[in-house]
């Protein structure tokens, strides 16, 4: 046989042999993994029975046994995490005590110094559930300077749910500016969680922010904080060159229920970006009591963008009044507008099917 063909034959058969061996390993791995899963389920069941009376305050936390092995601790931590998420904070305070008692906090503090980023992310997530402890806050703040962006995001999230930590929002945002972390919608959630306790800081950061994305996140957070006193700072963003910022500013004014800047918002009915005009239509709908808002809706009902038209028409149909009658009378020349009016009428009527 020619050497080249022989080599090809040997390589092909060797690869097949390797694949078969790997298959055998997979079978073995699955057998072991199935055993581990069964064991973890068993541990979880056993601990659920122990935890329920503790969570219901029927038994003391100190009555729970200490956990020595990491594998067992991981199984119990998974259960505790599950309970924390499923009951949405119902047992949160008690679970914090449980975590400290079983060594979850110490374990988390060790994990945040692990060499693998995945373990550090896991450690940050774990520390987020734990109770008041300056060491934990310090460790999480330290993770805000981690080289890995995901670790920084997870640390920021954990700090955001530990309301008492007292970390400055600008420090959190600064840590997230690098590596494109701000792009993630998870960061929106983080900034929102900081919002109620950092309203003044939000306004200051908004004025200083350079990137459009950061401004959008801060505007969104101001809308969650619902502090009408910040509407002036928000309105200043209505002329920002980025459409995403203009749209976010309009949405924030809508959430703040601010009628004072309607004229500035009205100037955006002719904005080039349909997302901005859509935000204006939603703002005008929510300001429906105001005649000026109904005029805006009437204007936007004749917009070139269908989504804007739909919101405006539905708004007018709900609010009724002169502009709605004007729209109904004048819609017959435009088949699409006419069908939008019919759709809005049906949607506004409680006796008909709502779609």
């Amino acid at each position: 046989m020619k050497p080249a063909l022989l080599i090809l034959l040997v390589i092909s058969l060797a690869l097949l042999g390797i694949a078969v061996v790997l298959w055998m390993f997979l079978l073995l791995h699955r057998m072991v993994d199935n055993c581990r899963t069964t064991w973890r389920k068993h541990i979880a069941d056993e601990w659920l029975e122990r935890l329920l009376p503790v969570l219901e305050n029927l038994e003391p936390v100190a009555g729970l046994p200490q956990i020595q092995s990491h594998a067992k601790l991981e199984a119990v931590l998974a259960l505790v995490g599950d309970l924390n998420e499923r009951f949405r904070g119902q047992y949160r305070e008690r679970l914090k005590e449980v975590l400290v008692h079983i060594g979850g906090e110490d374990y988390g503090l060790k994990l945040v110094h692990h060499r693998h980023a995945k373990a550090r992310v896991h450690g940050c997530a774990l520390l987020g559930w734990t109770g008041l402890n300056p060491n934990v806050d310090f460790a999480l703040e330290h993770c805000l300077r981690d080289a890995d962006g995901q670790v920084r995001v997870e640390a920021a999230y954990s700090l955001s749910i530990r309301q008492e930590c007292g970390v400055a929002l600008h420090a959190v945002l600064e840590s997230l500016r690098e590596g494109g972390c701000l792009e993630s919608e998870r960061v929106r959630d983080i900034v929102r969680k900081f919002a109620p306790t950092h309203v003044r800081e939000l306004a200051g950061l908004l004025a200083q922010a350079d990137s459009a994305r950061e401004k959008v996140l801060l505007l969104d957070a101001i809308s969650v904080a619902a502090d009408l006193a910040q509407s002036g700072v928000v309105a200043a963003q209505l002329t920002h060159p980025a459409p995403s910022v203009r749209a976010a500013a309009v949405r924030t004014l809508e959430k703040l229920a601010d009628p004072a800047h309607m004229e500035q918002v009205a100037a955006l009915t002719t904005d080039t970006d349909p997302k901005v005009r859509l935000a204006v239509a939603e703002y005008a709908f929510s300001m429906g009591r105001n005649a000026g808002a109904r005029y805006l809706l009437w204007q936007l009902a004749q917009d070139v963008n269908f989504d804007v038209q739909r919101v405006a028409t539905r708004g007018l149909a709900t609010l009724k009044g002169d502009f709605w009658e004007r729209l109904r009378e004048g819609c017959h020349q435009d088949a699409l507008l006419e069908s939008l009016v019919e759709e809005a009428l049906e949607a506004a009527s409680p006796t008909l099917v709502r779609s």
Binding site: L9, S12, L16, K118, Q150, E185, R213, V353
Partner: protein, 483 residues
């Protein structure tokens, strides 16, 4: 007259010609298998990346967070009376904070619409239709009180792309998810599929989910209760093929940033981009691939920073054809769709302007999915015949079939091992053994049959054959394990 056969087969030019052809076939086969093997290694870090993303963005966080975007699910249905109600029920059980479902009855000749109306107590409603995309006339829109997120659109027949365009046009959420009416979504499929949109909302244009074969699984009330591999050989081969050819390859493409296919059975797109692109293209049976290639082209031409990716953990279950006749129709149609897309976008080939899609993904389709099947089929016929005629040596014959079968088996097994190791779909050891057997045996006939269907598909494309061909369905409840 010509010389007797024995003489011309022994002539130098003929022997050299056969030898050269056989060598080209062997080299193509070797490089194709090596690239597939390389894809497995390329897919591995992407699986790890997807797993890390899944642990960061937990399902509970996504369900409770306002950061999770609302999605419109688009379901085109044509003659789907057997499965449509169960599919819709399956989608109604999705764990997702905010979504609407738009089912489009694309002029079905059977009782698809009537079954939907009866099952969900639908009533006609008034809906404004903007016609931003091109599609056939809408005959009626139906909705119901109890399920405000369900809308059924009845329209004249225009094909799958036409139905999807109608649904996209009527969708109200920023993301649209196309799902086949004969498919079942896992209850967490949607929440898992939107993760890339959470991580990179500005740049992610489209995301594809994993399609798996439901044959053999226990299905009840639109939910896959017990995952089992199919018992029937043909269905088992397809289950392995879905892991090898679709899941692994698409993960590798995601890694190399060159995804050009998102299956029509389960894919999520940004609605504004879809509308800007003019929706799905008419006149092709490969509308899913065509859309993604067009999207890549549009992004490259506009200089848009973008990503199109595949995520492995969200699963959409589909009913695999259980007869050779139906499977043959499906595969030749897929091949025609591929040829049509490549032909439409031929000027993207080898153009650096289109990045890895133009330089890597599309040329590899041409080489490995158009040229290679022709050569593979030629090799399967030519090599044994030439060996029997004494033109090719036994050495070459053995080496050729070692490459075809051993390499093929290695690839199928490796793909199955990687997918099962990372995703842990099959929990039972005996099911893994069965899948492994399927991965080995599929190389002894099934893959060759597939090659033949591909060649047939190319031939049908060249003859300008159009249409989908009939796909008969048994429905999810009529299987051996069917429950």
């Amino acid at each position: 007259m010509t010389s007797p056969p024995v003489e011309w087969t022994q002539s130098l030019w003929f022997t050299e010609g056969v030898w050269l052809t056989s060598m080209i076939i062997l080299i193509i086969q070797c490089s194709q298998n090596s690239i597939y093997l390389f894809n497995i290694f390329l897919a591995l870090p992407e699986f790890i990346h997807a797993r890390a993303r899944a642990s960061r963005l937990s399902e509970w966080w996504m369900i409770t967070s306002e950061a999770t975007p609302p999605v419109s699910i688009l379901v085109p249905a044509y003659n789907e009376e057997a499965t449509i109600v169960e599919s819709v029920r399956s989608m109604l059980t999705l764990r997702y904070p905010e979504y609407e479902m738009i089912i489009v009855n694309d002029g079905s000749k059977d009782q698809t619409l009537e079954r939907l109306i009866a099952a969900f107590n639908l009533r006609p409603v008034k809906r404004a239709i903007p016609h931003r995309l091109s599609y056939q006339q809408v005959l009626g829109v139906y909705a119901c009180h109890d399920l405000p997120n369900l809308v059924v659109v009845d329209k004249s027949n225009g094909g799958k792309a036409d139905a999807l365009n109608a649904a996209s046009d009527m969708a109200s959420h920023p993301y649209v998810c196309s799902v086949d009416a004969d498919s079942l979504l896992d209850s967490d499929a949607l929440i898992r599929a939107v993760r890339p949109f959470i991580d990179h909302p500005e740049t992610t244009l489209a995301v594809g989910g994993t399609i798996r074969v439901a044959n053999g699984c226990t299905v009840l009330a639109g939910q896959v209760l017990e995952v089992r591999p199919p018992r029937h050989w043909l269905e088992l081969f397809q289950a392995v093929e879905y892991l090898r050819a679709f899941l692994l390859t698409r993960m590798a493409w995601t890694r190399s940033d060159s995804v050009t296919i998102i299956s029509g059975a389960f894919g999520i797109f940004r609605r504004d981009t879809l509308l800007e692109l003019g929706g799905y293209a008419h006149g092709t049976v490969g509308e899913d691939m065509e859309l993604v290639v067009r999207m890549q082209r549009w992004a490259a031409e506009k200089g848009v920073n973008h990503s199109v990716c595949h995520v492995p953990d969200p699963v959409c279950w589909t009913e695999a054809p259980s007869s050779l006749k139906v499977l043959s129709r499906q595969r030749t149609r897929w091949q025609r769709g591929l040829c049509e897309t490549l032909w439409r976008h031929r000027n993207m080939l080898f153009r650096p302007r289109f990045g890895r899609v133009g330089m890597l993904a599309l040329p590899s389709f041409v080489i490995f999915d158009i040229i290679s099947p022709l050569l593979e089929l030629l090799g399967l016929v030519l090599v044994p015949l030439c060996y029997l005629a004494g033109i090719l040596s036994l050495d070459f014959f053995l080496a050729y079939f070692a490459v075809v079968f051993s390499f093929g088996m290695c690839l199928s097994l490796s793909a199955m091992i990687l997918a099962e190791y990372t995703l842990e779909h099959e929990r039972k050891v005996r099911d893994l053994i069965w899948l492994g057997v399927g991965a080995i045996v599929e190389n002894l006939g099934y893959r060759q049959l597939n090659t033949w269907w591909r060649v047939k598909g190319i031939w049908q494309f060249l003859r300008n054959k159009k249409g989908w061909g009939e796909m008969t369905r048994r429905g999810f409840n009529e299987r051996p394990h069917g429950g």
